[in-house]
């Protein structure tokens, strides 16, 4: 009986954890905690790192264009 109670308690806790985990799915915003602390923010707020890694993607423009736009 004691084992059954412990097993039930474990199952209950697991279900609760899974439910909490799922409840934030689809939410937009910092509530998830995923976006604010992300590799995006880490890199894009680090000037030194950006200077080291950023590469200018040159847009292909014709050299034959002349005159004012």
């Amino acid at each position: 009986m004691k084992k059954l109670v412990i097993a039930n308690a474990i199952i209950f806790v697991l279900i609760a954890l899974v439910t909490i985990g799922c409840s934030n799915k689809g939410l937009i915003g910092p509530e998830t905690g995923d976006e604010v602390v992300s590799s995006c923010v880490t890199c894009h707020t680090d000037k030194a790192l950006l200077k080291e890694l950023a590469v200018d993607v040159e847009e292909a423009t014709s050299e034959e264009t002349t005159g004012e736009g």
Binding site: I28, V36, C43, H44, E64, G67, E68
Partner: protein
């Protein structure tokens, strides 16, 4: 702008703002959990504003979607008015795609970053600026004519008094109009919210007693006829594709001119008989690279267009005295000023009869 600077979110507090809290990947895609630069940027969307802003800003986004900034309908209507076929698959549809679309402006290219045409780059960190930057947004696109006039960059022509005396920004006059009227427009003037001098200078209309020139001319001359100076006119634009397959264009050197002509856009909002006219770069052969006779009715539309130069002054050479204008054929657009091949197109705007001298 350096590559790093374009993507540097220098305003760390942005992450706590309403837009920041949305999270990077919701708008930009990519993978925020990936530490490898290349993998983190797979499917990245640099300018996500088209189609995203309307989630919260529905009214403005809907209006913007129909505005000239978004649709570039002004280009299309000009081509159609000259008899051009812009239907899908047509030569002019390709012209539009190759040469006009670069002027399309998304929400983000005014409120967050510089326009794509200038290779983008965040303006004030990632801050969403309710008022676009005059320097990095408005003049970035509208620089060669309006911007240079307004700031006094044309040699010998002073800057606009609204700039020199009040440091007014573009958005001080051009307010709601920038998101369009909610309907497709043919020209920038085709909008009830378009900027008008009388929006601020109402007294000029209501109190004319002390100003005989206003008393006499308010209804038949646009303000710029008396209060603007020479402005830039462009000629001979030709668009094509270079040997490498890249769209390109050529044009003749611009010319500073001041020309008064008949109003081609006369309406209840703009009832003036005389206005200043600016020559647009278009000519009959502008799109010849893409096909022959693409403008069968080229002469339907004048190449000298209604203009509102942005170099306004209280005192100008033409308002020094009555005869500085009345007796001055130099400042009126006449047959002699028109190129032979454009004479028919401009018959309705050229002045055949000068105002009589008044001896003052």
């Amino acid at each position: 702008m350096e590559a790093w600077e374009k993507v540097f979110v220098k305003d760390a507090e942005f992450m706590q703002s309403t837009h920041g809290k949305v999270g990077c990947v919701i708008c930009h895609g990519g993978d925020s959990q990936e530490n490898d630069k290349k993998l983190a940027h797979v499917n990245i969307i640099t300018d996500p504003s088209d189609g995203n802003c309307n989630t919260c800003h529905q009214d403005i986004a809907q209006s913007h979607d129909l505005s000239l900034h978004a649709t570039l309908s002004g280009f299309e209507s000009a081509l159609v008015a000259r008899g051009g076929d812009v239907s899908e698959g047509s030569a002019l549809a390709t012209v539009m795609e190759n040469h006009c679309q670069e002027c399309h402006t998304s929400c983000g290219q005014c409120h967050v970053s510089r326009p794509d045409e200038l290779e983008g780059g965040l303006v004030s960190g990632h801050t969403f600026r309710e008022t676009p930057s005059m320097q990095y947004n408005c003049i970035a696109c509208h620089g060669s004519r309006v911007g240079d006039e307004y700031l006094g960059n044309n040699e010998g022509i002073p800057a606009d008094v609204h700039w020199t005396q009040e440091t007014m920004l573009c958005t001080d006059c051009h307010t709601d109009v920038l998101h369009g009227s909610g309907e497709i427009a043919d020209t920038r003037y085709d909008n009830p919210n378009a900027a008008k001098c009388e929006d601020c200078h109402q007294d000029v209309w209501t109190n004319t007693e002390d100003n005989p020139q206003h008393e006499q001319h308010l209804s038949d001359l646009s303000c710029q006829v008396c209060h603007s100076l020479s402005y830039k006119n462009c000629y001979g634009c030709h668009v094509s594709v270079d040997p490498e397959g890249l769209p390109c264009r050529t044009s003749e050197p611009s010319v500073m001119q001041f020309e008064i002509g008949y109003n081609p856009l006369r309406s209840s909002d703009r009832p003036y008989e005389y206005v200043v006219l600016r020559h647009v770069p278009t000519c009959a052969g502008t799109c010849d690279f893409y096909g022959e006779s693409l403008f069968p009715n080229f002469d339907n539309v004048s190449t000298w267009k209604y203009a509102t130069p942005h170099n306004i002054q209280l005192h100008t050479p033409q308002n020094e005295s009555c005869d500085a204008c009345h007796n001055n054929s130099e400042i009126f657009l006449t047959e002699e000023d028109i190129r032979v091949e454009e004479k028919d197109a401009n018959q309705d705007v050229i002045i055949n009869e000068f105002p009589d001298p008044v001896g003052q």
